[in-house]
């Protein structure tokens, strides 16, 4: 049976001094295989051309379309309306800077995160463009790939109570990123180097283990396991530093 869906959508344009935060309601007939991506585009085409929201890949790859759907951060392009009740409330992701309506700026935060984590392979090897690429054990490559799948949508950070209270928290995406480079044999950084980046209250010891990140990540990254592993490893790295002969 075809439903009529009621969308309550957050509206606010911070650029416009006359704009005030409010909710607009739109009614839309549900079609087969409808996703929020389709619904939002239809609303914009048929009802309100001014509605702001972000999309790019519409296939859960680019991470642009993250928003709060009935209270939960998630990807709009990945969310089917048939899995939702008739009343759908859409809000922009909290924590990030609002661009307008449902659109937020995740890029600035993720860029900053990458710089804090120094998110690149640290090596002193000279790059030889003619040489064959170094080989890597397949199982390890897959393990790295599993963490590399993060699409930087920001859902984990927006869902994190710690980040909401303390904006300097590195977030699950940042901690996961460090875990990814910690796995990579080409990266020469040591455990003590990792400790300098995340062994603090802005990093892993700030995480309170609420696991909202784990529960909302639309790519189902193993965030709980990475956070647990990091706390354990960094905890011991801190203790090891008490031993004079291990001190750096």
């Amino acid at each position: 049976m075809a439903r009529n869906l009621t969308f309550s959508i957050f509206r606010y344009n911070p650029q416009d001094p006359t704009s005030t935060p409010h909710t607009d309601t739109f009614i839309l007939d549900e079609t087969n295989h409808m996703t929020l991506f389709i619904a939002l585009n239809r609303i914009r085409e048929e009802q309100d051309p001014g509605l702001q929201f972000d999309f790019c890949c519409r296939a859960g790859i680019c991470g642009a379309c993250a928003m709060v759907v009935n209270g939960r951060p998630g990807l709009a392009c990945h969310t089917k309306t048939k899995d939702l009740p008739e009343n759908i409330t859409l809000m922009p992701l909290p924590f990030f800077t609002l661009v307008g309506d449902l659109s937020v700026d995740t890029g600035t935060w993720f860029r900053n995160m990458a710089q804090r984590v120094r998110s690149w392979v640290h090596t002193d090897k000279e790059f030889n463009p003619r040489a064959l690429e170094e080989r890597m054990d397949n199982a390890l490559a897959e393990e790295i790939y599993e963490l590399e799948r993060c699409i930087e949508c920001g859902c984990c950070v927006a869902a994190c109570g710690t980040a909401i209270m303390r904006p300097d928290f590195l977030g699950a995406a940042g901690l996961n990123r460090l875990a990814r480079f910690a796995l990579d044999p080409r990266d020469k950084r040591t455990e003590q180097d990792h400790f300098e980046i995340v062994g603090n209250d802005q990093g892993i010891f700030g995480c309170m283990g609420l696991l909202a990140c784990e529960d909302v990540c639309p790519k189902h990254l193993p965030l709980q396991d990475q956070l647990g592993m990091l706390r354990w490893k960094m905890g011991w790295a801190g203790i090891m530093n008490l031993l004079p002969w291990k001190r750096k």
Partner: protein, 220 residues
């Protein structure tokens, strides 16, 4: 040369601090120590269900070995230390409180709520636990009869009926969170651990209630 130029030049080189790591260990270890204590405590209190004689024997053992006289205040210190460490995570600023509250309501996410349960029970335990420890430790030795007299007075029955679930909730959630935060329990075992948390909380509340009733109806 001149004394007035005593500038700490090292202040300009940020030295990586390890203190967050140590404090996090201590927070977890004091929490774990308090959990172990609460279980030992439950054995003592619940022994009254079998009979006041059993409880008196156990209490006497703790006193004869000076575990009550020394261990009691020591637990008090651990209790205080745990509070100071965990307080680093408690939102005390009104702005943070309002944020986490709105956030929890928006997210409707169980583990986020459980953390709030932990913070709120913690503040109440801090006050009520301190009162309870003071009353018991300033009136040694511990005997079933003295406890029963207190509880039958009425006020303390209400006090304990309130404190018991607070502590058991805090302990249950704390145990679960230690397990997931430190990686002892991974993604695959998390639902199981959560069930274990509920069961252990419920079981301890039940044992505690039965013990309280036993005290209440103990013939003096």
């Amino acid at each position: 040369m001149s004394k007035s130029l005593s500038i700490d030049t090292a202040a300009y080189i940020p030295s990586p601090s390890r203190s967050s790591a140590y404090l996090d260990w201590l927070q977890m270890l004091t929490g774990a120590a308090l959990i172990l204590f609460m279980w030992a405590h439950m054995i003592l209190v619940a022994s009254v269900i079998i009979g006041p004689g059993v409880m008196n024997a156990i209490a006497h053992f703790f006193e004869a070995t000076y575990m009550a006289q020394v261990g009691g205040p020591l637990i008090g210190l651990v209790f205080l230390l745990h509070f100071i460490l965990a307080a680093r995570k408690i939102p005390f600023r009104a702005e943070q409180q309002s944020r986490i509250w709105k956030h929890s309501r928006m997210l409707a996410h169980k583990d986020t709520w459980l953390w709030l349960v932990q913070v709120i029970t913690a503040m109440l335990i801090l006050i009520m636990g301190a009162i309870h420890m003071w009353v018991v430790l300033t009136d040694l030795p511990i005997t079933a009869e003295k406890s029963a007299a207190r509880i039958q007075g009425g006020f303390w029955m209400g006090f304990y009926l309130f404190l018991l679930p607070l502590v058991e909730l805090h302990v249950g959630v704390g145990l679960y969170r230690i397990a997931v935060k430190w990686g002892f329990v991974g993604r695959d075992k998390r639902p199981k651990m959560q069930r274990f948390e509920y069961v252990i909380t419920a079981v301890f509340i039940c044992i505690g209630l039965v013990a309280l009733l036993r005290f209440y109806f103990l013939a003096l």
